[in-house]
C-alpha cells in the first residue's frame, strides 16, 4: 500500500468515525468509552510483530511487554463493556429480583 492509499483510508475512516460516534445514543456513552479503549488496543498487532521478530532482543522484550499491556486492555475493556451492556434492559423483561426465577 502506498502512502496516498493509506491517507485515503484514514480520511474516510475519520468520516465514518464522526458519523458512527454521533449515532451512539447518549445513554451508552460510558460503554462507548470502554469499548473504544478495548479496540484501540489493536496496537497489539505491532507488539506481536515486535515480539515475533528475532532481530533485537530489546525489541522482543518491549514487544512482549506491549502484548501484556494491550491484552489487559483488550480483555478488560471488552469484559467491562459486556458487563455494562447486559445491565441495560427493557421494561417487559422482568428484571432484578425477577431474575432469580
Amino acid at each position: 500500500m502506498d502512502f496516498v492509499s493509506i491517507l485515503s483510508i484514514f480520511v474516510l475512516a475519520c468520516f465514518v468515525g464522526y458519523y458512527v460516534v454521533w449515532s451512539v445514543t447518549p445513554a451508552l456513552h460510558t460503554p462507548l468509552m470502554a469499548v473504544t479503549n478495548a479496540i484501540s488496543s489493536v496496537i497489539i498487532v505491532g507488539a506481536l510483530i515486535a515480539a515475533a521478530s528475532s532481530g533485537t532482543p530489546a525489541a522482543k522484550w518491549l514487544g512482549l511487554a506491549g502484548i501484556a499491556l494491550a491484552s489487559i486492555n483488550i480483555f478488560g475493556g471488552f469484559a467491562v463493556t459486556a458487563r455494562m451492556l447486559t445491565m441495560f434492559r427493557k421494561k417487559d423483561k422482568p428484571a432484578g429480583k425477577g431474575e432469580t426465577r
Partner: protein, 475 residues
C-alpha cells in the same frame, strides 16, 4: 507464510477487522443492538491477532502466549471486580496502558526496523516511517503520563486541586514545539546519522514530561474532559502506528477512537457551556463539591423529612427523579430503584430524567441506573422530558445540583449561564437531596431552587435518605 508477504488476503483480513470495529461502535446506537456490537468488536480483535500470528515467523510463541494470558487474567479480574462508580478511573487507567503500549511498539520498531519492514535498501529507517514512529511514540507517551495523572486525581490518590506552575503555558508550548522540531529534524536527516538514538529518546522523554505538565494544572472535576481527550489521543497514536505498519485495521480503529474521544469532549464542553481551550488551560474546578464558597447570604428554606417525601409522592400522579453526581458518590442507585418500584406499585408514574452531563462522565447516570435494573425505557433524556415538568407533581432531585440550576437560564453572570437545564421549578413540589446547605455542585454556585416555595430540602447522605423514604413507603 513468510514475513511481509504481499498477500492480498492478509490486507483483506485486516480490513474486515476494521469493519468489525465500525460495527461494534454502530451497535451502540441502541441498547438491544449493543451486545451484538460488542461481540463484533471481539471478533474483529481476534481476526487482527490471528492474522498477525499466522503471517509472521514467530520465534517466541510461548513467551507471547504467557504475555497474553497474563494480560487476560489481570484484565478480566479488573473488569469483574470494578464498581460501576469507579468507571471514570478505570477508563483513565486503561488509556494509560494503551499509551504505554504504543510507546513500546514504536520503540521496538525504532530498535528493530528490519522486523517491521520499514528500512530502505541502505538499512536506514524510511523518512516517512521516522515521522510516524516519532509521532506515535510521542502521542503514546503523552497519553500515558496524562492518563496516569488523571487516574490519580479521579481515584483520590492525588488531590484534585489544580497545581499551577508559573509560566506553564510557555513551558508546555515550548516543549511541544521542541518535540515537533526534533521530529522534523530527524525526518530530514538523509542517513540515520549519528545522534539518531539521541533524538528519539529526547523526544520521548519530553513527551512524557508534557503529558504530565499538561494535566496537573487541570482540576479533578475537569478530568472527564481530559480522559476523553486522552482517549482521542490514544486513537491517533494507534493510527500513526497503522501508517507505519500499513495496517488498515489500526488506521480505521485509530480514526474511530480519535473521533470518539474528540466528540465526547466536545459534547461535555458544550453541555457545560465551556470552551475546550478553557478546560485545557486548567485551573478550574478546584473546589468542586467542597462547599468552600460559603459566603452566601442566608435565605429562608424549608427542611423536609423522609416521611413527608414518602407521603406526598405516594399521592402523586407522576414523579420525575433527577439523579446527579451525589447519587453516584452515595451509591444510592439500588435503593432508588426500590423506591421507584414501591411508588409504581402505588400507581404512581415514575420517570428518570438524565441530563447529558449529570455525574462526572458521559452516560454515567445511565450505567448506574442500568446496574440497579432500572429499565431503559423509564429513563429519559433532557429534551424528551423537559416539557413534562408542568404536568408533574414531584421532581425528586437526588445528588444533582448544577443540572437543575435556573441561573443557567436567567443569570448572565453565572458560570453555567447558557447550559441547558431541567425546568424543575415548574413541578408542583420539589424534593432536593444533598448533605448540607453549604455544599455546592461542580460549578460551585448557589441554586435558587433551594429557596423556592415548593421545595423541601432533604439533608442527608443520599443513600441513607432514600432508605428512610423506602421505609416510610413500606408501612
Amino acid at each position: 507464510m513468510s514475513e511481509h508477504a504481499v498477500n492480498p488476503w492478509v490486507a483483506i483480513a485486516y480490513l474486515v477487522a476494521g469493519i468489525f470495529f465500525i460495527l461494534a461502535l454502530r451497535g451502540l446506537s441502541h441498547p438491544t443492538a449493543s451486545r451484538r456490537g460488542n461481540r463484533f468488536g471481539m471478533a474483529g480483535m481476534l481476526i487482527a491477532v490471528v492474522t498477525t500470528l499466522v503471517t509472521h515467523v514467530i520465534a517466541s510463541l510461548p513467551e507471547m502466549l504467557i504475555a497474553i494470558a497474563l494480560g487476560a487474567v489481570i484484565g478480566l479480574t479488573t473488569a469483574r471486580k470494578i464498581a460501576m462508580t469507579a468507571m471514570p478511573q478505570l477508563v483513565a487507567a486503561f488509556h494509560s496502558l494503551v499509551g504505554l503500549a504504543a510507546v513500546l511498539v514504536a520503540t521496538a520498531a525504532f530498535l528493530d526496523p528490519g522486523g517491521f519492514g520499514i528500512v530502505d535498501a541502505a538499512g536506514n529507517i524510511l523518512a516517512v516511517s521516522r515521522v510516524e514512529l516519532m509521532l506515535g511514540a510521542a502521542i503514546g507517551a503523552i497519553t500515558f503520563s496524562g492518563s496516569v495523572i488523571a487516574f490519580a486525581k479521579l481515584n483520590g490518590n492525588m488531590s484534585g486541586a489544580p497545581i499551577l506552575l508559573p509560566g506553564r503555558h510557555v513551558i508546555n508550548l515550548g516543549t511541544i514545539v521542541a518535540i515537533l522540531g526534533i521530529t522534523a529534524f530527524y525526518a530530514a536527516v538523509p542517513q540515520a546519522a549519528a545522534g539518531e538514538g539521541w533524538m528519539f529518546w529526547t523526544a520521548l522523554a519530553l513527551a512524557f514530561a508534557v503529558g504530565f505538565l499538561l494535566i496537573i494544572p487541570i482540576g479533578g472535576a475537569d478530568m472527564p474532559v481530559v480522559v476523553s481527550m486522552l482517549n482521542s489521543y490514544s486513537g491517533w497514536a494507534a493510527a500513526a502506528m497503522g501508517f507505519t505498519l500499513h495496517n488498515t485495521a489500526m488506521i480505521i480503529t485509530g480514526a474511530l477512537v480519535g473521533a470518539s474521544g474528540a466528540i465526547l469532549s466536545y459534547i461535555m464542553c458544550r453541555a457545560m457551556n465551556r470552551s475546550f481551550i478553557s478546560v485545557i488551560a486548567g485551573g478550574f474546578g478546584a473546589e468542586s463539591g467542597s462547599g468552600a464558597e460559603g459566603e452566601r447570604i442566608d435565605r429562608p428554606w424549608k427542611r423536609g423529612s423522609a416521611e413527608d417525601a414518602a407521603w406526598i409522592m405516594k399521592e402523586a400522579q407522576q414523579v420525575i427523579i433527577i439523579p446527579g453526581y451525589g447519587m453516584a458518590v452515595a451509591q444510592a442507585q439500588h435503593v432508588l430503584r426500590e423506591m421507584g418500584d414501591l411508588l409504581k406499585a402505588q400507581g404512581v408514574t415514575v420517570k428518570y430524567a438524565i441530563h447529558p452531563v449529570a455525574g462526572r462522565m458521559p452516560g454515567h447516570m445511565n450505567v448506574l441506573l442500568a446496574e440497579a435494573n432500572v429499565p431503559y425505557d423509564d429513563v429519559f433524556e433532557l429534551e424528551d422530558i423537559n416539557g413534562e415538568f408542568a404536568q408533574t407533581d414531584v421532581a425528586f432531585i437526588i445528588g444533582a445540583n448544577d443540572v437543575v440550576n435556573p441561573a443557567a437560564k436567567t443569570d448572565r453572570s453565572s458560570p453555567i449561564y447558557g447550559m441547558p437545564v431541567f425546568d424543575v421549578e415548574k413541578a408542583k413540589a420539589i424534593f432536593f437531596i444533598k448533605r448540607s446547605m453549604s455544599g455546592v455542585g461542580y460549578a460551585g454556585v448557589d441554586n435558587e431552587v433551594f429557596y423556592m416555595d415548593q421545595t423541601m430540602m432533604l439533608l442527608a447522605d443520599a443513600k441513607k435518605m432514600v432508605e428512610d423514604v423506602v421505609k416510610a413507603l413500606q408501612h
